[in-house]
Amino acid sequence: MNVLSANWIAVGRLSDIPRRGARRIQNGSLTIAVFRTANDEVYAIEDKCPHKKGPLSQGIVHGNCVSCPLHNWVISLEDGKAQGADEGTVRSFNVKLDGEDIHLNVLNVSDERKSA
């Protein structure tokens, strides 16, 4: 944890997530989806589609986007924004890789007001 500040915690390893896949992180009622792209980039957004709350962690990952498993909205992993004609944004969280370790910034994770 040397270079990382106290707000970052380890949540798993890169190899825990399949390439072009996602895993879930639970915090009480909040579920965060952590994605790994084909190029081993890591992103975290809330596991809740802005359309009708579909679990985005279960979608198909392509480029830096995920297609929602319920009605195929395409959501950007970078900022949580719906692409194309669809409108809506899902919360995104800061994650970074330290070697193989995935670290999540918990500053806005425990702020439950935002997840309402």
């Binding site: 915690i9 949540v11 798993g12 825990d16 997530i17 399949p18 390439r19 072009r20 896949g21 895993r23 879930r24 992180i25 639970q26 915090n27 009480g28 579920t31 952590v34 084909a38 009708k52 709350k53 579909g54 679990p55 279960q58 979608g59 198909i60 990952v61 392509h62 480029g63 297609s67 498993p69 319920l70 195929n72 395409v74 918990v106 994770v109 425990s110 439950e112």
Partner: protein, 353 residues
């Protein structure tokens, strides 16, 4: 690229008449399928590279289609890319609107037993499953199962021999039957037994879109075989084969494929028909749409009149079944794809702070 297509596809290549698979390519499903075979492309990255895909790793439209085409065309060589499958095929359960899943065990031909029913009752109580429903395909559906519970539910069901009913699959779903000559005074043949036989022969096969079948013991047609993808009507002189029906967004009665005399012939013709569809269908295109595109007469000609073509389809289906008939539930009970079912971590932040 234009040149390559003209060479490989010959006169049939008409660039302006093509509907592209998706925004990642200008090629249509037919062109992609034919080039996969002609150029022996055996992985998704190879297809995308050789056919000059415009995106780095495709999208949720083309990847599942390519994955199906490769599974179908190279059954022994291609390694299924689970990240290119929709979630219901990836975790072998249907996702519901609230993110929970539904579980439908296979009941061959719609037949069940006291042991199976008792097990289902036990599982429903043990896992607090909120809804149990009889489906249109004569199966029992347990709805509202938590994702984390799926492997344990399957393990319990597996104890009495239940396997996946593939109720989520673009593949063989159900063979619906009536009680036929076993019980019904009108029954002409053993429609139940034949339905079970067909289902045991064909389960596990992936197809462009879902395939639902039915066998009725007489023309009264209690299993509604004449609106299915494939239907069989038993008659005194043998079996009438039907196909290309629909009873969903569209309603359409079946077309008659032909008449055969024995159960073995039913299996051979139904399997050959399904394989022809597997090899030619566009991903997500139901049998009735494929038949409209190819022509009912052409299909009849190949399956009913051309014994050599029929045998070819039949043996290619059998070959691919060697790799397809693996129960996905028991694989996952034994630990496959564990990462799908458990969260990576549980932070419990509020509690910790």
């Amino acid at each position: 690229m234009e040149q390559l297509l003209a060479v490989e596809l010959g006169d049939s290549y008409k660039p302006n008449a093509i509907t592209a698979v998706c925004g990642c390519t200008d090629l249509g499903h037919d062109e992609v399928r034919r080039l996969i075979k002609a150029k022996e492309l055996k992985t998704i990255p190879r297809v995308m590279q050789a056919l000059e895909w415009k995106t780095s790793c495709g999208c949720a439209k083309c990847r599942p289609a390519l994955n199906y085409y490769l599974v179908c065309d190279w059954p022994d060589e291609y390694e299924d890319d689970y990240q290119s499958r929709f979630i219901y095929e990836r975790v072998h359960a249907n996702i519901q609107k609230d993110g929970t899943y539904s579980v439908v065990p296979r009941m061959w031909g719609g037949i069940t037993s006291a042991i199976e029913l008792r097990k289902i009752a036990d599982v429903v109580e043990k896992f607090d499953i909120p809804t149990v429903k009889v489906t249109g395909g004569q199966r029992i559906d347990m709805l509202g199962v938590q994702k984390e519970d799926l492997p344990a539910v399957w393990a319990d069901l597996g104890e009495v021999g239940f396997v996946s009913g593939h109720a989520y699959a673009k593949g063989l779903r159900t063979v619906k039957t009536c009680v036929g000559s076993d019980w019904c005074r009108f029954g002409t043949q053993d429609s139940t037994g034949l339905g079970v036989r067909i289902e045991k022969f064909m389960w596990g096969s992936w197809t462009p879109a879902k395939v639902k079948m039915a066998v009725s013991g007489c023309p009264r047609n209690c299993s509604e075989a004449t609106c299915k993808d494939v239907g069989v009507i038993c008659v005194d002189s043998g079996y009438e084969l039907h196909f290309a029906g629909a009873a969903g967004l569209d309603i359409k009665g079946t077309e008659v494929l032909g008449h055969v005399k024995t159960e073995d012939e039913v299996i051979e013709h139904v399997v050959a028909l399904t394989q022809m569809y597997r090899e030619q269908g566009h991903y997500l295109e139901r049998i009735y749409k494929w038949a409209k595109r190819i022509g009912v007469d052409e299909i009849r000609r190949q399956i009913m009149e051309n014994g050599e073509a029929r045998q070819g389809y039949f043996s290619r289906f059998i070959f691919s079944q060697k790799y397809a008939q693996v129960d996905p539930w028991s694989e996952r009970v034994s630990g496959k794809d564990k990462h799908e079912f458990i969260p990576m971590s549980d932070l419990k932040l509020e509690a910790a702070e």
